[in-house]
Subunit: 454 residues, 2 copies
Amino acid sequence: MSERVKYILDEEKIPKYWYNIESDLKEHTPEALDPETLKPAEISKLEMIFAKGCVEQEISRERYIEIPEPVREAYRLWRPSPLYRAVHLEKALDTPAKIYFKYEGVSPSGSHKTNSAIAQVFENKRCGIKKVATETGAGQWGTALAQACKMFGLESRVYMVRCSYEQKPYRRAMIELFGGTVIASPSTMTKAGLAILEKDPYCRGSLGIAISEAVEDVIRYNEDTRYCLGSVLNHVLLHQSIIGQEAMAQMEMAGDYPDIVIGACGGGSNFAGIAFPFLGEMLRGGRKVDLLGAEPAACPTLTAGKYAYDYGDVAKMTPLMKMYTLGSSFIPPAVHAGGLRYHGMAPQISNVMRQGLMRARTVEQLDVFKSAITFARSEGIIPAPESSHAIAAAIDEALECKKRGEKKTILFNLSGHGHVDMSAYIEYFAGNLANYDYSKEEVAMALSCLPIKD
Amino acid sequence: MSERVKYILDEEKIPKYWYNIESDLKEHTPEALDPETLKPAEISKLEMIFAKGCVEQEISRERYIEIPEPVREAYRLWRPSPLYRAVHLEKALDTPAKIYFKYEGVSPSGSHKTNSAIAQVFENKRCGIKKVATETGAGQWGTALAQACKMFGLESRVYMVRCSYEQKPYRRAMIELFGGTVIASPSTMTKAGLAILEKDPYCRGSLGIAISEAVEDVIRYNEDTRYCLGSVLNHVLLHQSIIGQEAMAQMEMAGDYPDIVIGACGGGSNFAGIAFPFLGEMLRGGRKVDLLGAEPAACPTLTAGKYAYDYGDVAKMTPLMKMYTLGSSFIPPAVHAGGLRYHGMAPQISNVMRQGLMRARTVEQLDVFKSAITFARSEGIIPAPESSHAIAAAIDEALECKKRGEKKTILFNLSGHGHVDMSAYIEYFAGNLANYDYSKEEVAMALSCLPIKD
């Protein structure tokens, strides 16, 4: 047979430590502010919302944080995830570039989200919490959290944006199959939900409303309930560092090292997961690597946003974070990559971008699906629309190599499969999809409402 | 960490030969009969329908048939597939038994079907065929064949039973994504389809009708088109032998050997895939193993069928095969495991059953879903309803071990994931599913029409 296509690590090679990018950044990521006082958020207040262990991880500047043994034990269900050399895609593109991808779709939820769900649920269990609440848009995070709760014996309540609840019955069923309680948001279970429904009984919901409901739920049942978030925050990015750490070991197996590392950017956790361990190596004097974040043209946070303090949600209940943002009141066009429709970007990624340590680009929706199909037909894996932003960027880089006759090594993160997103492909094949650009006027309007002026 | 949960073989360990059970059977499997003459089917006639290489494999009695290098190369996309020790399920059941499962859901189609699709498409390509036609019920086989055709540059036409075409848009989209042409059956493309539609313009179709249309398609475009079938036939079972061969190597890695090997039985290819290599070992004087086929109570071919010559399809166009059958005109109740709703059973499995070398049992539909959910919540994999018949049988065996205090080693084949079958879970959760037993009267009626009387 010709050269290998899969690089599989032994179970023993699941990383023993999460890697914390904060330790290697010269300029540290600005801390979160209390939304009421606009002063640095107090730990005791954060611990009302999040598990104590998660808050500790959130503010840590240690380089390595030990992965608790029960978390590593749970990771063994599917980790280490495979790294593939995309030989068939290379042939299809006729490129001199070498293309590798790390595949996170083998997890119970079908995406990288489970890496953090298990870590967060364990920290909740460790401090005696019995129930967690969260929101979910596209549904991957809700699935991941429900499955993690089932493993550790906690209850989960998932506020699912009503339009997803109705349009994605398969995702809802997966959450229920793993024992989670799914509540269509806005709901009548919270004051926030009731207030919305009073104004508009037919409201289809939004991520912002769902976050408000989940947080209200947590505050009401604070004795035994905490909140979990699937991206953006430092501790979530920390948990995802196992992706890049495994990928480094697998690239070593392949006798190779990436020139370019690519990830799709929504809240930022899958990009950071693959990119930060390589960035850390570079910051500590190791080999240089070109980090590329791919975001939807409909929601170009890193490429068209402003670096400023902003709320994490539409309802302005969360701490303020310094990040690239399109304004927390901006509602992106309804592209079929719900997981990337977020107005902000993880503060650590924003900080890295600000320091010129990575670059970013946008991908148009039709290119996303075209690339996804090219990839699926070559490699036999149907990718999620979110993950396909990374594929599109990788294909463009590989074609650029072809034009210039360069033999670069490209690595991208395939963060999830698209088995539950076939409705988006159906729309694409039916010719019902288009490229949607964001409205510059709407972003300007949203940015004019930022809580702290320059 | 505690003991391993995954056993992963290196790419180089993909078997180099398919294993042919016929070589080790003392009583050979009776040959197929021509439906017109009721005499042994002539090779030249079979080659009008199937690729020459497939016909050669169909009638071979060689023990090992070399896997062509391009097929092994294609297998590397996802093979060797993982073997898991189901430690979390064992804990949930509190059983002294050890439970292992081979997971075929990692393939491009999400099931074991791709193993044979790639082999069949390659044989078609090798003899100059440009297009293949097939039928699909549940959709796994259609997906597998379309993907294999895309890899080898052939065209595929998939006649999809109309009710699946309408109820399973995700499966249809997957086939199209991989470049296949999907035709709802009955269609206006064939005489067979037109005749049906003339009688009933709203006919929802059946596997029997779809087979008739695919075969008519092949006969009409015979110069460059051949037919492919996803189960039942000897050469399909041969291709699936890589499952059991890999599992043997993986059980060796685990330092273990199964006492019981379990597979779900529809047409029989996934059961034979895992069981026959172990059976061969036993027939050649090796260790004894208890082979158990699990079939739906709604379609109990092995447990309530008659061993007799019968047609493979409802329309009586295929060669006659000696097999356990409920009668080719029997239509099983509409349980949510479409891939197991087949009136007959692979002739080689029927022969093995007849000789007392395996046993079979039925599983009720509600037990299928109950077991599937227990498994998913323990192991983090959502199984296909078809595959869940094997899970139900494995759980029962493990509980029996608990009752008797026996430490048996159980191995089952998890033939596919259920990501595209979530609608069945939704029905289950909604309380809309029931146990469906077959009608003894209908089977007696169907059996009274067998073409050759005792």
